[in-house]
């Protein structure tokens, strides 16, 4: 497994894509849709890495190694999850800076811990739709991206609308004062757990699909 991950990091993911995490800096914009800041990794890194891997015949190479087909899927799901987690960590840094720059908060969801928790769920949902769909063919990226990106738009829109329209939701998810942040820790924890659970499920479904196809 480590060997496949090593392959992902050395041959598949160009170091440039780690820099997409810096789009987290968009969290510093006052009054904005912060979920978008965390979508750049999905807009830029995912399509490019998968299309590049296809052009390089990465699957053809990977299955020549002494690994099982499902390990190839696992390595890719893990490496892309690393990018997502990196994005959340960088975003956390900008959330911390944002609190001092925009103490008044945002008209939509604030850049806070609950927001990071929701972003993790968003990534989990993206993974759940993207990976199983992609590994039905192992090479077609278009439709899986379209569907999974739509899901992330719908999910983030629902959260934003609820925060604005439903005070009870706003109470749990909104606010960027120190006390609000502390009360949001369970949301972040739940978001992390959901991200792990959904991604794990995504891997299993994707691996099952990939086992069935002929290379």
């Amino acid at each position: 497994m480590n060997n496949l991950l090593n392959k992902e990091l050395r041959l598949v993911i160009h170091p440039l894509y780690y820099l997409t995490a810096l789009f987290g800096a968009l969290i510093l914009i006052p009054n904005w849709v912060y979920f978008v800041a965390l979508m750049y990794v999905l807009f830029i890194a995912f399509p490019n890495i998968f299309m590049n891997a296809k052009a390089q015949n990465d699957t053809g190479f990977s299955v020549l190694m002494p690994v099982r087909k499902r390990d190839v899927v696992k390595a890719r799901v893990m490496s892309m999850s690393i990018l997502e987690i990196l994005q959340v960590l960088v975003a956390a840094l900008f959330v911390a800076i944002g609190v001092s720059i925009n103490p008044k908060g945002n008209f939509l969801i604030d850049a806070n811990l609950a927001f990071l928790g929701c972003a993790l769920v968003m990534y989990g949902l993206f993974n759940l739709f993207f990976f199983p769909m992609f590994y039905k063919t192992g090479h077609k990226v278009g439709l899986p991206l379209l569907v999974s990106l739509s899901i992330t738009f719908v999910f983030s829109s629902i959260i934003e609308v609820l925060v604005v329209m439903v005070p009870a939701v706003a109470k749990v998810l909104d606010g960027n004062t120190p006390s609000a942040m502390i009360s949001q820790i369970p949301v972040l924890a739940a978001g992390t757990a959901l991200f792990v659970g959904l991604t794990w499920l995504a891997y299993h479904l994707a691996a099952k699909n990939f086992e069935k196809i002929d290379l």
Partner: protein, 284 residues
């Protein structure tokens, strides 16, 4: 000991079936896997390795069931499907760096030896190599981890005659210790005449023959005769070709009768392939 055994392997496609493919290979021998384009050679090899999802049958290698011991078996297996067709713009050195970590028994001295022997330069990228060189690099990767069994798909096609001859010599060296074996598919039958001990012949997804090369060549005869002589033997022929002066055909040695008074010759592997392919064509 049987190093490879394939039993009733099958794979169903909408327009093509691989049906009941069975053959086995002992330690210390080279088996040639022949068949025309699209006969099912690559599909068989890929189904054996789990790259193509098989619909039935069992495969065992090195005395272990493949499905149950896939990882362990793959550690001792070298396989290649054509030349290096991945990471065209990555330096060979970087590709090797990634590959070597996968194998417990990777041996850098073997790797360096073959790289030198094939005159491959590590600082080149696959896109800068000729197709023959790409096949050679692919082979180096398959050889450098002390594999016990090599499964090679068309390792000689695209190589010049000298390189092909070198490669066949290398195959002989590889099996010399009597513990390692090679199964390689090809449609260049002259390669097999030089080095194969066993031949497995597949046509239209079915195994037609799998036995020693000498037995196989003994089992068939090429016959020639006049147009008048054709009728009495035609039913016994595997297939025949007619021309202005008469006919030529392939027949099983056991089906020959001295009363036929035909001109009899020993066939080459190519003759056997050509007549069987002709027969399959007639059946369609």
């Amino acid at each position: 000991m049987e190093i490879l055994s394939v039993q009733n392997l099958s794979k169903l496609y909408p327009k093509f079936d691989l049906k009941d493919v069975s053959f086995s290979l002992e330690q210390g021998f080279i088996m040639g896997f022949i068949g025309s384009n699209g006969a099912g050679k690559t599909t068989t090899l890929k189904s054996m390795l789990g790259m193509v999802h098989k619909d039935g049958g069992t495969v065992s290698m090195l005395g272990m069931d493949f499905d149950q011991h896939e990882l362990e078996i793959k550690q001792h297996l070298g396989f290649m499907f054509g030349g290096v067709d991945y990471y065209a713009k990555t330096k060979i050195r970087s590709i090797t760096e990634v590959v070597r970590r996968f194998y417990r028994e990777w041996d850098d001295s073997i790797y360096q030896k073959y790289m030198k022997r094939f005159a491959l330069d590590e600082s080149k990228r696959p896109s800068e190599l000729s197709s023959g060189m790409r096949i050679k690099y692919s082979l180096v990767l398959a050889l450098s981890h002390r594999a016990k069994l090599l499964l090679l798909d068309e390792p000689t096609s695209g190589l010049d005659p000298v390189a092909r001859d070198n490669l066949l010599e290398l195959f002989q060296e590889f099996i010399e210790d009597g513990e390692r074996s090679i199964l390689f598919s090809t449609h260049i039958t002259s390669d097999l005449e030089k080095c194969a001990d066993y031949i497995t012949y597949i046509e239209n997804g079915r195994i037609i023959e799998s036995r020693t090369k000498d037995d196989l060549l003994q089992a068939y005869r090429l016959v020639k005769g006049t147009s008048e002589q054709l009728a009495p033997v035609q039913a016994r022929l595997i297939a025949n070709k007619t021309h202005a002066y008469g006919f030529s055909g392939l027949i099983k040695t056991t089906d020959l009768e001295s009363a036929d008074h035909l001109e009899i010759e020993a066939p080459t592997l190519e003759d056997i392939m050509i007549y069987y392919a002709k027969k399959e064509g007639l059946n369609e």
